[in-house]
Each structure stands twice: as C-alpha cells, then as structure tokens.
C-alpha cells in the first residue's frame, strides 16, 4: 500500500488553475521528485500535502487516513522550506527541539529526552558543534542541515522538501545532493522533493513526476523519463541541451543531441536514419563539441549535435556532413497534442 495517495487534487486561485487534477501515489521509503518549470503548480501541490493549502477538490490520504481536512500538525509530515525558515530568535538547539516541544504535549517528552533526540539528529547531520549558535551565524549549507534536522527530529512519515538546495552555491549543491540522498537512504524516510532543476531531479529521484501547467506529464524513473518521454514537453524539458524536435506534416520527431553523430561513427548505419547536416557554428565545451546547424529539409529548425571531443573527426563550420541517428533513438510525437506516437503505428508514413 502506498504511503501517500492523492486523488483528483485540484487547486484554483481565483481563475488560475494552479493544480489541475493530480492522481499520485507515493510509496513508503521512496525518494520522489516533483519536477517542473516555475509556476507549474509543484510547490502548491507540496503545500497541499503539508496542509498549508486546502485543495479546491480531491482527497489526500497519508498512511491510509483521509487528511484532506486536517491541519498540518495532525498529518505527521514535516517540511524543509526553500528559505529554510529557521527561527531567528532561537539557537540551533531550540530550532531543532521546536517540533518536539509541540509534540511533548501528547507524548510527554521530558527535557532529557528532548536533549537526546536533538543531539542524535544533530550528530547524524554533523551539526552537533553548532547547537549554541543562532541561525544568522551559520553558512548556507549549515542552515540547510539545521532545517533538515528540524524536519527529521520527530521522525515524520513524510519529509517534504521545497527546493532546499536552490539557495546554495553551485559547488556546495552537488555535495549537499549527495549527502541528502545518502541520508534519505540510510534513514529510510519517504521524501518528496520539489525542484525545477533537472540535474537534481535526475540525480536524487527514485521516481520523477514531471509537471506542467498543473498537470502531471509523466511519472517514472529518471532513466525511463529521459529515454521514453511521454510527450514533447517532457522530451524538451529534460536534457541539456534539450531534444531536437523536427516537424513534418502529420507528426514531429525528435532525437537527443548526443545521439546525433557523424555517420562514420554510427554503430550500425543500416538501422539508422541518415540526415544531411549543415554546421553553422561549433562550441568547444571541453569534453564535448556542441554543433549548431540545420538538417536538410528543416532549414528553420535549429538542430544541435553533441559530439565527444575525443572523437577525432573533422567537423568544420559552413560544411555539409552526413549524420546518423539510430532508429530506436528517434521519438515521434503527434503534431497537435504533442503526445508520443509509437513507431510501429507510423508504418507507411515514415
């Protein structure tokens, strides 16, 4: 049975459909990432799971119990906010102990028990030497750990994380990502992580939910979503640089720049499609060469190719080359709806 279940969740602000009919099941112990561009409703969705917003329609179940009408404190969830929302007037110890103090009315923690729990959690996150400091005396990375410690100390059923890495600088972020994943795995907690950063999503998620315009576009493992996008939006949103989309009369087709290689390098050219590719510009990115150009017959659709630098093939600007894409790497989409079309359904058209 899944731990969290969302059924037909909708949220309208005046006439804006922020979240528009979400069906989602979150499994116990998994790391679920909700990925989408800003304004796609992902944060609103998370706030509804937390109980900070009331859904316009639909039901939320946590641990089998309908919590739709319950306030946040009765849901057994905890949350790490984007700004961390540490209480500036309390030191780190009291910040972490704050949720325990709330619980102690029912569970009767004494001071000793609170101290033990706080210190254990702090040790786990390696912030036990900071317990006397105030939040403003901490670095960004330390604040983030305190926020996670505060969310973890009560051992909640679900940990909600709202872009917790976006306030860290790029160097720290990779490190924090790794530690967060490690921490989630070792503590076996169920985490829901909201982000607009596809690298974070791909790196952290057991499963990714791609959202756009208040709707779920696709759910699946990072690999599955990357390789088998359900529609044009998912195809172009994931991947950097994003998938090339070329349009023909009845359908569009797309292929990823890293699968678009000179014909001489193709594994089995007989199973590939050959394009005449005109190179307009070349960028050297160290490990790769990024080519900007046009495929013959699609002169208005900029097409990118990403060729590893260690492939020593001469690729010059203002020249035509034969490039190949393996047939299985070409994805077809309906021109109107943008939905994926299976290749066998296109026999005769291609």
């Amino acid at each position: 049975m899944s731990l969290v279940e969302l059924q037909g969740i909708k949220k309208f602000f005046d006439n804006v459909r922020a979240v528009d009919g979400i069906e989602l099941e979150i499994e116990d112990g998994e790391f679920l990432v909700i990925l989408g561009p800003s304004g796609c409703g992902k944060t609103t969705l998370m706030r509804m799971i937390a109980g900070l917003e009331k859904p316009t329609a639909g039901q939320i179940f946590i641990g089998g119990e309908d919590v739709t009408a319950l306030p946040p404190r009765k849901r057994g969830v905890s949350m790490v906010f984007q700004s961390y929302a540490l209480y500036p007037h309390m030191n780190v110890f009291n910040n972490i102990a704050f949720p325990l103090k709330a619980q102690s009315r029912e569970k009767k923690y004494d001071k000793r028990a609170i101290r033990d729990k706080v210190e254990n959690t702090a040790r786990l996150l390696e912030i036990d030497m900071l317990l006397d400091r105030r939040p403003r005396q901490l670095s960004g990375g330390q604040r983030q750990r305190v926020a996670i410690a505060r969310a973890m100390v009560t051992q909640p059923a679900v940990l909600l994380l709202d872009e917790p890495l976006s306030n860290l600088d790029a160097k720290l972020r990779a490190n924090a990502r790794d530690e967060l994943k490690e921490f989630q795995r070792s503590s076996n907690i169920t985490a829901v992580f909201v982000t607009h950063d596809q690298i974070e999503a791909m790196g952290l998620g057991d499963r990714i939910v791609v959202m756009s315009q208040g709707k779920i576009q696709q759910i699946g493992t990072p690999q599955f979503i990357y390789d088998d996008p359900a529609n044009e939006f998912v195809a172009t949103f994931l991947g950097s640089p994003s998938m090339n989309i070329l349009r023909s009369e009845v359908f569009s087709f797309g292929f990823r720049p890293e699968n678009f290689l000179p014909k001489t390098l193709a594994d089995n050219p007989e199973n590939s499609r050959i394009f005449h590719y005109y190179i307009k510009r070349v960028e050297y990115l160290g490990s790769d060469r990024l080519l900007y150009g046009y495929v013959h017959g699609h002169d208005n659709e900029l097409t990118l190719a990403k060729v590893p630098s260690n492939v020593r093939v001469a690729l010059d600007v203002d020249c035509d080359y034969e490039f190949a894409v393996h047939n299985s790497d070409i994805k077809f989409f309906d021109r109107q709806s943008g939905q994926r079309i299976e290749q066998q359904n296109l026999q005769g058209v291609v």
Binding site: R73, A85, F98, A102, T154
Partner: protein
C-alpha cells in the same frame, strides 16, 4: 545645593567650556592616533563646517530644554526684568520647584497619567495585536481596505468627538473619573497601534509561521511563539508611542474630568499653573521639563522603529 546654584549661574560658560573640552579631546585623540601632521590638520579643517552645522541644529533642538531648565530657577524679579537674557542676574532659587510639588497636585497628575497610560496601553495591546496580525496575514484584498478604513478613524479629531463621547461617559457614570479616559483613549490608540503593528508583523516572513504550523503548533501558538518574539522591538516601540499619545491628549482629559486631583498631566499642569492671564512661569516650565525628559529619551530611542513600522507596512503592503 551650592553646586546647583554655581552651575546655574555659570551655565553658558560651562556649556561652552565643556563643548570646547570635548572638541579638544577629540582633536588630541586624532593627533595621538594619526600624528599631528599637516594632512591631519587639513582633515580637521575640512570637517569643521560639517560639525558646525550639526552643532547649530543640536542647539536648536536642545534650546527649549535649556531655556525651561534655566527659567525654572529664577526669582520673579529676575524673570520679568527686560531685556530678558538667559543669564542669572539674581541668585537662583528652588522655591518654585518646591511649590510645584507642595502647593499643586503635580504628583497626583503624574500618578493619574501613569495609571491611565498603563491601562490604555494594556487595553490597546489586547485589541490591536490580534487585529494587526489579522490585517497583516489572514485577509486578501479586503484586509488592506479594512486597515485603511480603521486608520481613517484615527484621523477623526477629538474636537469633533468630545461632545458625543462626553454624553457616553456621563451615561456610563464615569464622569470625573480617570476610568473615563481609560475607556475613551483606545478609540484613537487602537487604530494607531494597529497600523504600526501591522507593519512589524508584515516584516516577519510567513514561512516562519508555516514552519511552526508544520512543526506541530496551531496558529495561535505560532503567533505567540514565533511572530510575537520576532516583532518584540516593534511592540515595545508601539507601547512607547501609545503611552505618549495618552500623555499629551488634552481635550478629552479637559472635558471629562473637572476634579483637580483626578486630572492628568496634560490638563492639570496648565489649569493649575495658569490662572486667567497669569502664568506661573517657573513651576510651569519645571513641570513640563520633568516629564519631557524621560519621554524624550524613550521617544528618541524608538524613533527609528516607529518610522520603520510605518514604512514597512507601506512598502511591502
């Protein structure tokens, strides 16, 4: 006593002397730190016009206090002899200060003002804290309009309201009692404080309360444990300003209370020490000075947060 007389008689020379000493010490300090070089000298010369202007403004700000102070100790003959320079030509006297405390109900006035002030502050906080929080957080577009509407109440002057208010006070049987003021003053202190507090509450990020909600508290607890401690400086300055509002209120205090010993400072002092066109200048000035000094200190201490409170609400609104 002799020292006081000596200070008063040499007031101006002492003032100039102490100022000159301060300037001298400052220059000596800089010379010790940076050396008595030509560059240092020109630095001092360059900066001196700035400090001169500051000095002039300081003088204008402090002059009323100095004049009140000087005149409080003059004998009548010295005070009324023209031309009136601010120096002592006859010996200073404490007689007027004595008569202020013994012949008038000055101590009663102070007590009444403090009692009324504290009671009004408490009532105001009880009403304005939740109202301001609601305006800052829990309402949409109408919240702001309601806030502006309530602030408009503050703009209706007591000169328009004192007659109907008087009838209400009589009806309640509170005439001639400081209770009348305690009941009526919140009519202007509540909107004022509410507006001020709203600005401070808006400065507390909503995420902090949401964090408290998720951490297991309800909204009232979140308010008490997170919002209130964080806006404590704002609340303290609101208390100071509410208190001073009640301290200088005149019309209600004049109309509602006729019994001398039940009057507050703002009415008691002028009615007791001005008889028709006779002004008892020395005790009058002393009475004003004695309350002006603590209020002035408190006000200046919190002036920044007052301005902050109003502008925070305005900018973030």
């Amino acid at each position: 006593m002799a020292l006081l007389i000596w200070i008063l008689q040499n007031f101006w020379s002492l003032l100039v002397l102490s100022f000159a000493t301060l300037v001298g010490l400052r220059i000596a300090y800089r010379f010790r730190k940076y050396g008595a070089t030509r560059a240092e000298l020109s630095h001092i010369l360059r900066r001196s016009p700035f400090y001169l202007v500051v000095l002039i403004f300081c003088f204008f700000a402090a002059a009323p206090f100095m004049i009140m102070f000087l005149h409080s100790f003059k004998v009548d003959g010295d005070l009324y002899r023209r031309p009136q320079p601010f120096v002592y030509r006859q010996d200073p006297t404490l007689e007027h200060l004595e008569s202020l405390f013994t012949n008038t109900a000055y101590l009663d006035f102070i007590r009444n003002s403090v009692v009324v002030g504290i009671a009004v502050v408490i009532i105001t906080l009880i009403l304005a804290l939740p109202a301001a929080y609601a305006l800052a957080r829990l309402t949409g577009r109408w919240g702001e309009r309601a806030g502006i509407l309530m602030f408009l109440v503050y703009l209706v002057p007591p000169t328009l309201l004192f007659i109907p208010m008087f009838r209400i006070v009589v009806m309640l049987g509170l005439k001639d009692s400081p209770l009348a003021l305690i009941v009526v003053y919140p009519s202007f202190t509540v909107p004022f404080s509410m507006w001020l507090l709203q600005g401070f509450f808006k400065a507390v990020p909503p995420e902090l309360e949401e964090a408290a909600l998720v951490d297991g508290f309800n909204r009232v607890e979140a308010f008490l444990r997170v919002v209130l401690p964080l806006s404590l400086p704002g609340i303290i300055s609101t208390i100071v300003f509410t208190f001073t509002l009640t301290l200088h209120e005149f019309i209600y205090a004049l109309v509602f209370i006729t019994n001398t010993s039940r009057r507050t400072l703002s009415v008691g002092v002028p009615t007791e020490l001005i008889l028709g066109d006779v002004y008892f200048w020395q005790p009058l000035l002393a009475a004003a000075l004695i309350i002006a000094i603590p209020v002035g200190f408190a006000y200046n201490l919190f002036l920044d947060s007052l301005v902050q409170g109003f502008t925070m609400g305005a900018v973030k609104g």
